[in-house]
Symmetry: C2
Subunit: 148 residues, 2 copies
């Protein structure tokens, strides 16, 4: 791998910050090949686009376009993937997931690990700060985004 | 419930047929309230829009727009939901799923049932015919759509 996990996370953090600057939920993601090639990046667009289907991971996946295989890809996300995004990772056989933090929210990453996905959690302070601030300031939008 | 399962499935079948007429993968879905109100409907758009994130269920969910809760909603789909779409159903606490058929493909419907989602499989001949014909004619596109 030519890029470190931290370097790949940087792209997702930039996306999360972009989302925050747009008034949205600050979760970003990026899909890389294991050789470090960036396939696509994106961020949660629920607020900006009124689109409940657009989570960070699904937006990055969409922006990567059609791919014949995902086995040699890595999904990098600022936050532990919810069941929706965990299902995406499992269905498309994405080989690895790198997670900025899993303290603010814990989704399906343990289930992914049990099903053969390589899972790395970085406990990144930038990601923790982005989410904890947002959840404190906008609990209603956050709960809407995770179906609570 | 003011609409029968079969009547709700009809909306999903119409979407699947619309997708087929566009040259796409013939999977359709619709999201209803339990009182029979249609919130949104859609179909797989991988081929038409070059969008790998657009499965039947996610397209219907997107077209329904932002909802405060999904507990009293029913996702109706022509085909057993893949892990991606099963994850969507679980994350947003969609209460029930009505499935046209699970013979051509079996996704996460048993996992959903284990996690409290009401699951109904109708073994609908129209759905079986649409998928079996498509899989025979376009195995490459089908495998791409399920990450095989």
């Amino acid at each position: 791998m030519t890029l470190s996990a931290q370097a790949m996370l940087d792209a997702a953090v930039e996306e999360a910050r972009l989302g925050a600057s747009e008034g949205g939920i600050p979760i970003g993601a990026a899909l890389f090949r294991t050789d470090g090639t960036l396939l696509g990046r994106g961020h949660n667009r629920r607020v900006q686009d009124d689109d409940p289907s657009s989570h960070g991971e699904t937006d990055a996946f969409r922006n990567a376009g059609r791919q014949r295989t995902y086995r040699d890809t890595i999904m990098v996300t600022t936050l532990s993937p919810c069941w929706y995004c965990s299902g995406l990772i499992r269905q498309f056989n994405i080989g690895a997931v790198i997670i900025g933090e899993a303290q603010s929210f814990s989704g399906g990453h343990e289930w992914l690990a049990e099903n053969g996905v390589s899972v790395t959690i970085l406990d990144d302070p930038r990601c923790i700060d982005l989410m904890s601030t947002f959840i404190t300031d906008h609990p209603d939008i956050w709960n809407e985004d995770i179906g609570e």
